[in-house]
Amino acid sequence: MTLEPWLITVIEALIKVLVVIVVLLTGFAYLTLVERYVVAKIQSRVGPNRVGAAGGIAWLQPIADAVKMIMKEDFWPAQADKVTYTLAPGIAVATALLAWAVIPLNPAITVFGYTINFYIADVNVALLFLLAVGSLGIYGIVLGGWGSNNKYSMLGALRSTAQMISYEISLGLALVGVLMISGSLSLVKIVEQQSFWWFVFFQPVGFVIYFIAAVAEVNRLPFDLPEAETELVAGYQTEYSSLKFALFYMAEYINMITVSAIASTMFLGGYQGPFGILPGAHWLILKILFFIFVMMWMRGTLPRFRYDQLMRFGWKVLLPLALANIFVTAVVLVLIGK
């Protein structure tokens, strides 16, 4: 039996989508465990040590957490807006997952004469797609905060909007430097160009700005104002419970993986590793884990910004720096005649 070529393409895409989603969701589950251990170590606590603990690590904890989340009562606030309240967590997760359509994971390999590309889609404007999808993620939070009919949720949603708008600009501008060097919007091409010199060496300032803005983008400490638990109880997720709450968490962690993946792809050569000892995807995973670890480390060390200070930092420090970075990059590129 021979398959039609278009059918093969569809099946291949479906398999890839399935693999990416399964890996991401498992990754999310175990990232929560990693985070709990990392923060516990920083805070001189023990961390989870009950569920399926073997060798001091509670391997089954994420599964127990998932079961617990599913079994919880699905709570509806009395005057919540049913549609937006239900839709919001879905939007948050969907946009978080969408970004993975364009991130290349490994160099292409050939099996039985058939070339498999380790990305779902090689979009020629992949970077713009990433930024656009990232911006859509805000809708999950805003609609959730609005739909809950709760003052804390509302304040959290408002904070989130302001924060996302201010940091998205710096985030985008920080990536422009890379674009100017690479001359392409396709992530696959950008990675391929970094086979020897990673772009972080050409764009150190852009890299730092991107990372700070990315942490703000995924609402992690010290920028976790939308959910600031000591002020707004839980911000936009105050009223959420059960699976809907889990979905928000899922979105947050997948976003962490995503921004780390983008940082690795744009600045640290993606799946390109030094010396080529390990297969490419390993390098990408290592780099992603490194960024995630740094985010957890920041959570264990830093206090939280205040709303107005955060805005000031975004508009008055990061944005001018990002613009200056673009300017300098442009001047240098012209001077060396590229």
Partner: protein
């Protein structure tokens, strides 16, 4: 002439006809004046350059049913510059229960007068917001009056509700509250709970502000505090503390216990400073009965209180950092505190509710190995404190979140009866351990950390608390060698009217047997009198006012708690800051709601 003599002379000159009898007992002076002269007298006390009573530390009342005039309203004034206290008494007959409010002279009278209004039903004319403070607003009686029955409070959820319901005196189910304390346009007022209420005050032209109920269940209110928070965007227009959710009537209960049995009640007030609660209470009773305390007991009291000052400040600093987002400092602080709690457990058998001090000394002698474990704690602590400072002191986010937040001046602090680290952060050098030394604090070489800035803020309070922990370490280090010299010496007074005789004596001495019997059946019987014993708790001035009518139960135990006064500065401190700052400000005041509500 001593300052108090000057005060009396000056008062006699100024209010020649009005001054009634002057009562002196155990070195405390109570001046009786008629109601009409009260406001003038308060103004005079506050402003006269020779007197300078800057602070109104307490307002309370005594109910002398069936005597007429039935109520005494007591005002406690404190002069920081002359280190003098004077108490002013206004007597009120039962048909005519009102006095002028002192809020215009001392803004700090606000909560105190509301409390007296709530618990005694005495009206304060001219008070800006005279509403019930501790009991719910559907309450119709006044719990601290002597004719208010004790017990059978309606507990709706008990499974024996039907059984106890018929026994309740005039029991009616409590009505559901319909109005709550809130704030509209920056002025506190009672607002209806539902928008459909016809009296909804914000229809139409009101300023567009948002009222948030921060609490009673909120992660950062440090207990069941409700802050009626009016915000304009994220900016605070007004933050009205609404308290009473933890009011358990400890003062009322104490009136129905013997003196000794009241000790564990007070543990439950400031649950981070249990030794301090015990200490102030037993010191008040000791003052009332004029009991000597052996040196060993005094040393143990100093060491344990200073240890607990450290643990309390650890929580204050840790939870403050946590509220601003640095959770790690909190877990570190709790780690250190555990070690100290182990010591408390070894000493008193309980980690928090210690109830360890007794009249004239201690409940039992120290366990073996006490000084070693204290030494180990003292050795461990300084590097750990350094660790917190490494995490916070140079962290730009921390500095930005604390410096210049909730600024207040020394005048504000004094006017609002603020005591403790918050007062010292405003640059007022005032510590009761130095001002009125008790427990032999004058023998120890330590410093009182005082801010040198003109205005206090959140950061300044944090610095003061960190430094106070270091000073406490110094005190304990000096006390430990002294303590070791007293090994084997008595830990409780030999006064058999107060402390029971050793068990061995009972077998041989008839007199001891009688004392033992009297103490365990009847309890102690202090003379008639009114005493006040203040100490410096981690939060400020903690004082017990005990009124004794000569019987085996106290006639009234009034607790002047520091958190209560410190909390009422919240509207002043948080105005025009942000919601995010408010949690830091609440943490700065370091309130314990058990201490506020009692």
């Amino acid at each position: 002439m001593t300052p108090i003599e000057t005060t009396i002379t000056k008062l006699r000159e100024r209010f020649a006809g009005a001054i009634g009898d002057i009562y002196e007992f155990r070195g405390e002076t109570t001046v009786t004046i008629p109601r009409a002269a009260l406001l003038d007298l308060a103004r005079f006390l506050r402003t006269d350059p020779a007197l300078r009573f800057d602070m109104l530390t307490d307002v309370t009342a005594l109910d002398w049913l069936p005597r007429e005039p039935r109520f005494d309203v007591l005002y406690a004034f404190l002069s920081l510059s002359h280190k003098t206290r004077v108490r002013v008494r206004v007597q009120l007959a039962s048909g005519d229960l009102h006095v002028p409010s002192l809020t215009a002279v001392y803004p700090g009278a606000n909560f105190y007068e509301r409390e007296v209004y709530d618990l005694f039903g005495i009206t304060f004319s001219g008070h800006p917001f005279l509403h019930r403070l501790l009991s719910p607003d559907y309450e119709t009686s006044h719990p601290l009056r002597k004719d208010h029955p004790l017990g059978y409070e309606p507990v709706e959820f008990t499974h024996t509700y039907d059984e106890i319901q018929p026994d309740k005196p005039g029991a009616v189910p409590p009505p559901k509250p319909r109005r709550l304390i809130g704030s509209i346009g920056g002025t506190p007022q009672e607002i209806p709970l539902t928008l459909s209420d016809p009296a909804t005050p914000w229809s139409g032209t009101q300023a567009e502000t948002l009222l948030i109920n921060m609490g009673p269940h909120h992660p950062s209110t440090h207990g069941v505090l409700r802050v009626a928070l009016e915000v304009d965007g994220e900016k605070i227009v007004n933050a009205m503390p609404d308290i009473g959710y933890l009011h358990t009537g400890i003062e009322k209960t104490a009136e129905y216990k013997t003196y000794l049995k009241a000790v564990p009640l007070f543990d439950r007030m400031d649950y981070l400073g249990t030794f301090f609660n015990n200490l102030a209470y037993v010191m008040a009773v000791e003052k009332l009965m004029d009991v000597d305390v052996p040196e060993r007991a005094q040393l143990v009291r100093v060491i344990l209180s200073e240890l607990q000052r450290i643990t309390s400040h650890l929580i204050a600093v840790g939870s403050q950092a946590m509220d601003i987002g640095a959770v790690t400092v909190m877990t570190y602080a709790f780690r250190e505190r555990e070690t100290a709690l182990d010591i408390f457990e070894a000493v008193a058998g309980a980690r928090m509710m210690t109830s360890y001090f007794r009249f004239g000394g201690l409940a039992l002698d120290l366990p073996a190995g006490f000084s070693d474990s204290v030494r180990a704690f003292l050795k461990m602590l300084p590097p750990r404190l350094k660790e917190y400072e490494d995490l916070l002191n140079k962290n730009p986010i921390w500095l930005e979140r604390t410096r210049g937040i909730a600024e207040y001046t020394a005048e504000d602090a004094l006017a609002y009866s603020v005591t403790g680290p918050m007062l010292r952060a405003a640059g007022v050098n005032w510590d009761l351990r130095k001002a009125f030394p008790y427990l032999g604090y004058e023998q120890y070489d330590f410093e009182v950390p005082v801010s040198t800035r003109s205005k206090a803020d959140v950061l300044e309070c944090y610095y003061i608390r960190m430094e106070e922990m270091r000073q406490s370490i110094r005190i304990i280090e000096q006390a430990l060698p002294k303590l070791e010299k007293t090994n084997g010496q008595p830990y409780v007074t030999r006064n058999r009217k107060v402390a029971p005789p050793p068990k061995a004596e009972l077998a041989t001495s008839m007199e001891s047997l009688i004392h033992h019997f009297k103490l365990w059946t009847e309890g102690i019987k202090p003379p008639v009198g009114l005493v006040y014993a203040p100490i410096e708790s981690p939060r400020g001035e903690l004082g017990f006012l005990i009124s004794s009518d000569g019987s085996r139960n106290p006639h009234r135990v009034r607790v002047r708690t520091p958190s209560f006064a410190n909390l009422q500065t919240l509207p002043l401190l948080s105005k025009n800051y942000y919601i995010a700052d408010l949690v830091g400000i609440i943490a700065m005041t370091d309130i314990i709601l058990g201490d506020v509500d009692r």
